[in-house]
Amino acid sequence: MAPLNKITIVSRTPGVREDMVACLEEAQVSAVVYEGEAFAASADIVLIDQRALPATQVESLLAQHAARCILLTDHDDGENITKALARFPLSHIIGGNGRSWLREFAVTAQKMASPTLWGLAAHLSPAAVIESRTVGSAAAINATIDELLGHVDLKASFGAAEDFLRQTANELLTNAVYNAPVDRTSQQPKYEQTDRKQKIILLPSETVEIAFGTDEDNIGIAVSDQFGRLTREMIVRHLLKCVTNTNFIEEKRGGAGAGLYLAFYTANQFVVNVEVGKRTEILCLLEKTKRYRHYRTRVTSFNYFTQAKGAA
């Protein structure tokens, strides 16, 4: 049983506390829920509902409690990166116009209390269908994606969703294959500067897992490596570079330095789970919708969870 969360909700949206309590109960997340800023100092989790709060109050709360905050927001992704993630040590943003943001909130609260919850299953309903494969070489990336995409029911999605899912899976796998592995002794990257045309073969201790999963609301991709080196700061620095400068394709050796941003840009929920030094898992979820406009205007959720090595 997960430990009890003390959650305080700072919101001016009518009924939001009741909705959250009901959702936490439904998800069987054990929590005691307060309302108001007065409880922020003692709460494990501070939910800031930015949708109806003055900017100064949001900033003040983030300045004091960012590491324990979930920011529920309807601001666009660029603003969330430049004004929230880059300025405060915040690890949790939920898109306030997401269809299932309440469930996202319950999952986030649950994982903040027990960051040992891995995989797509935590983010999809119990009825989700999940298919996974192991990738042992760069040459297998595209064929594995094509094969897994063949299992995904895209009937409830807009037509271009398949292309976006393929792009996301490709970026995540390419990063996991080329960028994640380090020499275990020197901790120096092994393949980071390798030309991506050179199709490397991974050692068994370097292989990568990919999963595609779907439930009634979302299609998800999860890619995990065996190194656990991705920090929140690395991600935020990368997102900030790409969102503030459209000239972000890099001419360095190795990759083009844009993969994570393209995955974030394509996702409706971008979730990173890290066990330091052991594994990194990146999940990208797209809402099932036939409406491209809804997909594009959906504020992207960002969640970074970390646990110390061996804490599971």
Binding site: N142, I145, D146, F158, G159, A160, E162, D163, F164, R166, Q167, N170, E171, T174, D195, R196, K197, N245, T246, N247, F248, I249, E250, E251, G255, A256, G257, A258, G259, L262, Y265, K290, R291, Y292, R293, R296, T297
Partner: protein
């Protein structure tokens, strides 16, 4: 369906026509395309199923390698190509023109999305052209954000 990249290139009277299919990624070698120097290069993206960040870099290099005075014409751009043009500096070199492209429309009564091929000229003042549903004939809704989806038109040669 395989995502392997294919290109078919032809040239006639100083105008090159290139048809792409599959995924544009790091393995795409545009230098293999042997064509005489042309005044116009027309790219048909209808068969492009995806692109990754290394593919974007390959594309930028390729378009920059073409004669500076040449006109580059983009045809049948799929949604993912339009997204890259809008997002990545250099994807759409100076002197380039999107002639036509796919745009998402939605028919409420049929609950159906339709990818419609529209010409850049049909977009007036960032307003999406009116399109009727091929099934029920009702007017469909443009299903993207005009300012976002049509951003590339500002750079259209």
């Amino acid at each position: 369906m395989s995502s392997k990249f294919h290109v078919t290139a032809t040239e006639k009277s100083g105008e090159a026509q290139l048809e792409f299919a599959g995924v544009i990624d790091e393995d795409v070698d545009f230098t293999q395309i042997k064509l005489p120097e042309c005044k116009v290069y027309t790219f048909n993206f209808a068969g492009v199923k995806g692109i990754n960040s290394c593919g974007i870099r390959e594309w930028v290099h390729f378009s920059e390698s073409l004669p500076a005075a040449a006109k580059l014409v983009y045809q049948n751009c799929t949604q993912i190509i339009i997204e890259q043009i809008n997002m990545v500096a250099g994807f759409f070199r100076a002197g380039s023109e999107v002639q036509n492209f796919y745009a998402p429309y939605f028919c409420e009564s049929c609950d159906r999305e339709q990818k419609v091929l529209i010409t850049a000229a049909a977009v007036q003042g960032l307003a999406a052209p009116s399109v009727n549903c091929p099934e029920c004939k009702a007017e469909m809704e443009f299903d993207a954000i005009e300012e976002q989806y049509f951003r590339f038109l500002k750079a259209n040669a």
